[in-house]
Assembly symmetry: C2
Homo-oligomer: 364 residues x 2
């Protein structure tokens, strides 16, 4: 158990944006929401998962809709109270703690804001250990958890609770209400008890985000190595490619951002070519025609000078980026995990081979 204040939030937002693997929204907006709540209501208690009783009600908090609309509509002070009341009265018991559902610039931050405003602790875990584009892509699905009962509230005070026959229907109905509410709402889904959370969540992800963010903030202070060496050491990342963005192909389809970013090698990669495919998050990194990493491993693009993560919606011609691969949470490498989030699910015609093995095979 420890406290999260403004300094921790700065680091967590940055680290979670890296773990967002290209998705998860703008950490700047998320950070403002969390910092505003903490300034007003005081710091948040972060619980280790093992500190949560087995029968306690633990509720993930997130946003649904477009982060760009969130940035315009904002988050008021009342929606987390409405969300609390809806979920708590549905279960007929108080909520013990909130938790994030995914890492990413926005959804790592909103649970902190919710915890501050309601005065509840936050649990140091999530359901992805990164960001993914679809609602069913959480470790809890592997454990047989259901997305519903799901609660949805808007900034005006309207609330909805869904119970659906499949998570696909959750998506359909919640998306319709999200649009009717203006395109951005606060949600809680996959509510669970402490025992289930301890068994299936990605533990320690808030702390990991914070450690990563803190290290990126200080990457240039390294004295015995280059900033890049320092960055790779602290992230334990694999430097897949370094290049200048020479093309960005985008297509918005079914509410997702699909696309491909093409890179021309610079420095140690001079004369080589690479591209990264994405659906909200980065899906596959291909260098000189050879796949070096695929989902569910994390493929992160960072600025070559500042090592700040570059989300897929900020990719621009001419920007110089380092493509880094990070191994995913082990549960994603099981058959059940790969059925949910493996390369073939996203239409990439390759078996999943862990990043480390592809690296060993491809290393010069």
């Amino acid at each position: 158990m420890r406290k999260i204040g403004i300094e921790e939030i700065e680091d967590i937002a940055l680290g979670a944006a890296l773990l967002g693997a290209g998705g998860g929204g703008d950490p700047y907006v998320g950070k403002l929401v969390a910092i505003g709540a903490v300034k007003e209501c005081g710091p948040v208690t972060l619980l280790d998962p093992d500190e949560v009783p087995d029968d306690a009600l633990v509720v993930p908090i997130a946003m649904m809709g477009a982060p760009t609309i969130l940035a315009e509509k904002g988050i008021g002070g009342t929606e987390y109270r409405t969300l609390y009341d809806a979920v708590s009265s549905f279960y007929g018991k108080p909520i013990y703690a909130f938790m994030p559902i995914e890492a990413g610039g926005v959804n790592s931050m909103l649970p902190i804001a919710a915890a501050a405003r309601i005065g509840l602790p936050l649990v140091d875990c999530d359901g992805m250990g990164r960001a993914f584009p679809e609602l069913q892509m959480v470790t809890f699905t592997i454990g047989g958890g259901s997305a519903t009962p799901m609660a949805l509230v808007d900034e005006k005070g309207n609330s909805t609770i869904f119970r659906t026959i499949t998570n696909k229907w959750t998506e359909e109905l919640a998306r319709a209400v999200t649009m009717a509410c203006g395109g951005s709402v606060s949600i809680s889904l996959y509510a669970m008890d402490g025992a289930f959370m301890k068994k299936y969540s990605v533990k320690g992800i808030v702390t990991r985000s914070q450690v990563l963010g803190s290290a990126i903030h200080r990457v240039k202070e390294a004295t015995d190595c280059t900033p890049q060496e320092q960055f790779l050491e602290i992230t334990e990342g694999f430097p897949l490619f370094k290049g200048k963005i020479s093309d960005v192909l985008r297509e918005v389809r079914d509410g997702f951002n699909f696309g491909k970013v093409v890179l021309t090698g610079i420095q140690e990669c001079k004369g080589r070519e690479a591209y990264v495919e994405f659906q909200n998050e980065n899906l596959a990194a291909v260098v000189d025609g050879k796949i070096l990493a695929t989902t569910p491993d994390l493929i992160c693009l960072v600025d070559t000078e500042t090592f700040q993560p570059v989300p897929t919606d900020a990719l621009k011609y001419g920007k110089r980026v380092l493509v880094v691969g990070l191994p995913c949470f082990p549960l994603w490498r099981t058959k059940e995990g790969l059925d949910l989030v493996g390369p073939r699910y996203f239409g990439i015609d390759t078996d999943y081979i862990p990043l480390e093995e592809r690296w060993k095979g491809g290393e010069q």
Copy 2:
């Protein structure tokens, strides 16, 4: 307390279609749903409102969406169970009885089907004593009742519970989910306790529908008078006009059927002209330029031979109809009632004058 079986359903459907005042959907489809449920699960117990304890949970059942889609999708056997579970678990207590929210061909019947399938009694009351087009147009609004918590289920088993800041938002969000579910869903709204129901509901409306329907079914058996005299006697209706439909103007706007039916006088009305304006239900009857009846009084068009009600969506050129006015439930004639459903709300530029007074003034 008495039982409702197939024979009663036939009469109730017909009488409720008359009280639908042009709206409320096709009684044939509604009847099939209710009869199917009663055949499978046995007759339904009809309770007098005064037989319901003050603290009992009473839940109106209806459909939302297009009756024409209901006719295609049908109603399964499971949605009333899902609806029961959603509402009951929300309130943390069992539902004591169902009730209709409005009279009309479809929504008078679905609560009977629900009661049969769940094995609950039905209360002999509703919230309109007729049909109205908008969700807030119930006597319960006058009593300060809220539409939400509102439950919505589809035939597949998906369910949603709404709590909204206004009934306008209930309409917005529930309409979005209704469309996402395919355009026709089962709902419960304005759940209330027995005490509130006894104070604000339109009591005895199921029995009244049945008496009217039974009388219409036997209208031609009259021996000492004409069928029309018989019909007017049992309905206590005012014969506003008799004519042949010479024009039907329709406009679908904001999900409602707006329009006007023009009549050329026949028989005792020969040489005279009339028209009836409607928004789903009939709103105003104008004969030779003079308003003879307006909402909230009931304006019903019936076939001149069979005296079967002709809903607004079945109006056709050449059809011969009798326009009958029926006085509305007294609560609608209060200031609060007229604010909700009076002529000016619907854009008709006249004060409300009770049907009986307009009739006295206009009688030859």
